[in-house]
């Protein structure tokens, strides 16, 4: 039994090293799909190069949701983005969630799929929100095992998103950048760099986000998320509720100068305006991509 596990682990490790991140397709600039956008989605088609769908919203076999997914899949490149895999849970993955997620990925056959570096479930409680894991070797070990379990079930590259550090643990072995580097070293995963989350962490914890960026493995930064946050009692909150602020645009430009990013998603969740009011942000992102490409 142990020998079989060892063989499987070696095979997975070898397969992992064969992932050529640079060969992933360039998807451009898109939007995180939310239900109120449906009416205008095709009117704004020319501004949206790809869609990111929340995987959890399509787990149930409901005809209308399946038809919606089919409609999107025939008109846009789709990327499934999971919310509650809870890769950082020391108690392991929820097998029923894993099955639903892998079935969806199998159905969509996307260029890649994504999840978060966080935990959402512990001690039998569903927290219902992304909670940061402590930046320790124990957490890296847990992430490694859970990522391996997930990668055994899916046939496409996996990228993981950084979240805001709403809680800081008293004893941590690594800072944010070192933790992400270690995570990429130990696992064949790409990074979904949420530029807003990076900016918010840098403001709340007083570090230089550009220096943080330079320490990350640039070849692993595959996709970006961006959106506006707000300040409450002197603390930045990743509310996903407003227009992207200027310092975040500047940070996006820095990332694009360092990494060959394959896709960018505007991830608006609250205070949703009409979709056509968000397209200028998509155009602005596209203009930054073109400006950086011309300069390099």
């Amino acid at each position: 039994m142990r020998r079989w596990w060892l063989w499987r682990w070696r095979m997975r490790w070898l397969w992992g090293w064969l992932v050529d991140w640079s060969s992933l397709p360039e998807l451009g600039v898109g939007i995180g799909y939310r239900e109120p956008f449906l009416g205008e989605l095709f009117d704004c088609r020319s501004s949206i190069e790809f869609l990111e769908v929340t995987a959890d919203h399509y787990f149930e076999p409901i005809d209308s949701k399946e038809a919606e997914l089919d409609l999107f899949a025939t008109n846009f490149p789709l990327i499934p983005h999971g919310l509650a895999m809870s890769l950082g849970s020391a108690e392991g993955l929820d097998e029923s969630y894993l099955k639903l997620y892998s079935e969806l990925v199998d159905r969509l056959k996307p260029a890649w799929c994504s999840e978060h570096i966080s935990f959402t479930r512990a001690g039998g409680i569903d927290i219902g929100h992304l909670t940061p894991v402590p930046k320790t070797d124990a957490a890296l070990g847990v992430l490694h095992d859970n990522i391996a379990r997930l990668q055994d079930s899916i046939q496409v590259p996996l990228i993981l998103e950084n979240i805001t550090d709403t809680i800081r643990y008293p004893t941590e072995s690594y800072d944010g950048a070192d933790f992400l580097c270690k995570l990429c070293d130990q696992n064949q995963v790409g990074l979904l760099l949420d530029v807003t989350n990076l900016f918010i962490n840098s403001q709340n914890q007083c570090f230089d986000p550009v220096e943080f960026l330079r320490r990350l493995p640039a070849d692993r930064i595959i996709q970006l998320h961006f959106v506006g946050g707000f300040i409450e009692n002197g603390v930045w909150v990743d509310s996903h509720s407003g227009a992207t602020q200027e310092p975040i645009w500047e940070l996006i430009e820095q990332v694009l100068g360092l990494a060959a990013v394959k896709g960018m998603i505007l991830e608006r969740d609250e205070n949703l305006p009409a979709l056509r009011e968000l397209t200028p942000e998509l155009e602005h992102a596209r203009a930054i991509v073109q400006r950086v490409r011309r300069a390099s």
């Binding site: 409901i62 849970s89 512990a122 219902g128 909670t131 709403t166 809680i167 008293p170 509310s239």
Partner: protein, 166 residues
Amino acid sequence: MPEPLSSEFDERRELERLQAALAARLVYPDRPIGGLGLEAIELDRAAETLVRKRISQTRGLLPRSVELLGKEYRKSFREFARSHHFDGHRAILIDAERFAGWMLARARDKSKTEPMDLELQEALRWEQEMCRARLSRFRVRWICVGRKVRLVIRMGKYLRVWGQGV
């Protein structure tokens, strides 16, 4: 996959305990989390963010709240829910159903001194019935609010509604 060494195993057990304590503290803010060195102010802020995200999820669960009752209603619900526990969608729905009932009782009290707003009353009753439909183990329900009768079929957390005025 190599099996973890005993020290790694201990570290994981420790992490599991920490995560379980943290999850309990975030969802039930009155639970103590002593000895772990986490800052109370950060935990309170994280718990508040959790409530905000949970309530934003109710938009998906109860999409007609804003449409029928307005943004102020949701703001008041948020204030109401701040002091309640959130552990899964079920708890949100129980709170939403109670809150609509409380608002309805308040509207009835008001009607003793001024004319009753029938539209508001119907919207609140509809909100209550939608919560009940989602909480019920039965998938099919006839809902009668005012003079309108609607057929509601629940599929997981999604509802299909047929009937006049929907």
